[in-house]
């Protein structure tokens, strides 16, 4: 039996698309058949892995323009990104200018997520700098954000805390994710590979989560990124297996679009 969320609809190429994939394809005006197929397979994979229902925002950055890149694949009527400043949009996704470009997801995790958070980005750029790829913080730096290749110490991530945690990385390419599973246990995932740490929960951020910069307590935007991102997501906490499967699904998606790194 096919559940309502898995119903298939005819695609432009004579195939059949998942209903949610079709809604995104139509809303974002995705006309390229390879891109359509990639989006459809991504949705099917996320549903088959039982990840789909745990994510609140999925930004596949497909379509090559600011409008298409603004839509949330999970629900095109929610958390549409508002772009500001200099962000370049092309077939490889979004690229910040490191000066003033960012996107406002209009998602506040304290009001959306039912439990702990998981959040990540797929980067096609590897460089060391102090820039935030996704996140928001409140007063005193408490919040959720990721610096995917901050310095020689590697990736730094904040998961509902104010001091952050480092993990060693060899480069900034691929999928960088932070996750919290309990009031004390946090994890990072680099291309699906987990590291764990202990960090006491402070609070959910009460500010909109930004892409390619940090929302600093709703008053300023800072730490603009110059990286090329080809995917971003925000959702509830995932298990180790789910993160491995998510990495597989995203890598397959990027490979289909010939933009995997």
């Amino acid at each position: 039996m096919i559940s309502p969320s898995n119903r298939l609809f005819s695609g432009g190429g004579g195939g059949a698309f998942d209903e949610d994939a079709q809604t995104f394809i139509t809303t974002a005006s995705i006309t390229d058949s390879t891109q359509q197929d990639a989006v459809n397979q991504l949705v099917l994979d996320l549903k088959s892995y039982s990840i789909w229902s745990k994510l609140e925002a999925i930004y596949p950055y497909v379509g090559g323009n600011a409008t298409a890149h603004s839509y949330n694949l999970k629900d095109t009527t929610q958390f549409q990104i508002t772009w500001s400043g200099g962000v370049t949009h092309d077939s490889n996704g979004i690229t910040g200018n490191g000066t003033n470009g960012y996107g406002n997801t209009n998602l506040v995790d304290s009001t959306v997520l039912s439990n702990y958070i998981s959040m990540g980005v797929y980067s096609r750029t590897s460089l060391q700098d102090v820039s935030v790829e996704i996140g928001a913080s409140g007063g005193g730096g408490v919040g959720n954000f990721i610096l995917i290749n901050r310095n020689a110490s590697g990736m730094q991530y904040f998961a509902m805390d104010s001091t952050g945690t480092y993990r060693s990385v060899t480069n900034g390419f691929g999928l960088s994710v932070m996750n919290r599973t309990t009031s004390t246990d946090i994890q990072s995932y680099k291309n699906g590979i987990e590291t764990t740490a202990t960090k006491t929960e402070n609070a959910h951020s009460t500010k909109n989560i930004y892409i390619l910069a940090r929302n600093n307590n709703g008053s300023t935007v800072d730490f603009y990124s110059q990286r090329n991102l080809a995917f971003a997501f925000i959702g509830n906490s995932l298990t180790t297996t789910e993160h491995a499967n998510l990495n597989t699904a995203i890598l397959d998606f990027q490979t289909t679009l010939s933009r995997n790194v």
């Binding site: 600011a66 500001s84 400043g85 200018n97 000066t99 003033n100 730096g141 730490f223």
Partner: protein
């Protein structure tokens, strides 16, 4: 690259879209000058802001952030 604008020009651009979907985001440089980016200028298609294409480009002097992440 960026272009320096006046405070009055900044006030005009705040809240304005430069290409039907993306908003201008004037920020201040190290010396307190308001600036917009080359990308905003190059992609501006709106009549209301077409004057930005006459601005002179220069190198950006970024503000120095206190690093709160150490």
């Amino acid at each position: 690259m960026i272009a320096i604008i006046t405070t009055e020009q900044k006030d005009l651009l705040v809240g304005m879209k430069y290409d039907n979907i993306q908003y201008f985001n004037p920020i201040q440089d190290l010396n307190g000058n308001w600036v917009i980016s080359q990308e905003e200028i190059n992609n501006c298609i709106m009549v209301e802001c077409i004057w930005v294409k006459d601005l002179t480009l220069s190198t950006f002097n970024p503000p120095i952030y206190e690093d709160p992440f150490i």
